[in-house]
């Protein structure tokens, strides 16, 4: 799976923030974008589902929240279920 987001269509952005989902962790040029835009950008390459909630620390972010430079954004991944 290609985890490099540079080939994806890039909406406006004005700085770096860190993005995480499951095993993925990547500084990305996503500051200035909304959560919805970032989800759309990374959904295919990282497999982020539509119901994965975005958090900045313990603060839940809605889809229209604008990501700030330096923020650490995490789309929460569902835990492993079986065993």
């Amino acid at each position: 799976m290609d985890t490099n987001s540079s080939s994806a269509q890039q909406p406006r952005a004005n700085g770096m923030a860190n993005l995480r989902y499951g095993v993925y962790n990547q500084p990305s040029n996503i500051a200035g974008k909304t959560v919805a835009e970032v989800r759309s950008q990374f959904s295919k390459i990282w497999g982020i589902p539509n119901d994965a909630v975005a958090y900045c620390g313990k603060d839940k972010m809605d889809e229209n929240s604008v990501i700030q430079p330096g923020q650490n954004i995490e789309f929460h991944r569902r835990a492993g279920e079986k065993g």
Partner: protein, 254 residues
Amino acid sequence: MNNLDPKRFILVGAGGIGNWLAAGLVRLLEWKYPGSGLIIVDGDNYEEKNRERQEFIKLGNKAVVKATELVAHFPNTTIIPIPKWVVSDDFGGVASDENTPKITATQLIAENDVVFAVVDNFAARKIIFDAAAKLDNIDVFTGGNDDDLFGSIYHYQKRDGVEITAHPAEFHPEYNFPPDKNPGEMSCQDRAEIEGGTQLLATNMAVAAFILGRVQKTIVNNQISEETEIFFDLGLGKSEPYNRNNVNESLTVQ
């Protein structure tokens, strides 16, 4: 409690992950904490179809069979099987259904226990975490995997009534709204219809290994771990730790 004192480990689930975890936990107790107890809890039975991913010496209840196997080799550890399903406190019929023996989570776990919740559903894990949250000093490790090469583990810890790490439901809505059911709270017929899926041995073993690594760091070495939750993907060769601590990570557990 002195870190060198004997421990009481409670392993809930002796299946795909739990049977490998049991092998590691009993060795840890036998040589690091002689005189400790390992309680194995499972209401399910080993069946021939389980041999692809699980090791057992005979067919029968998982808790009883696994305890019987380990007792013969680890004389310094008291190993007790509880062949029951773990259910919530408010579940009706705990004593009335003789065909499905049950124990409530609060009957099972107590202060200073180290609990391993490696059942195959979020509903039962939630019951165990909620019971643990009522105690002042407790460690609960959980882990699970999908049908492929992805898995994750989580460590919930309380000391002196303070949640050192967050309750996993804070980060995982699947605990509050589980897509599954606790087999202990299903009918025998419904339980028999649960599909085992297509889990992989490697992923089951990896979950057990990651949990044992956390136990080594946080219980044996008595360190607060920044790696409260770990996601891994054996196919990608990646693992990623997440800090779910509520307290300053530089603190040391007393």
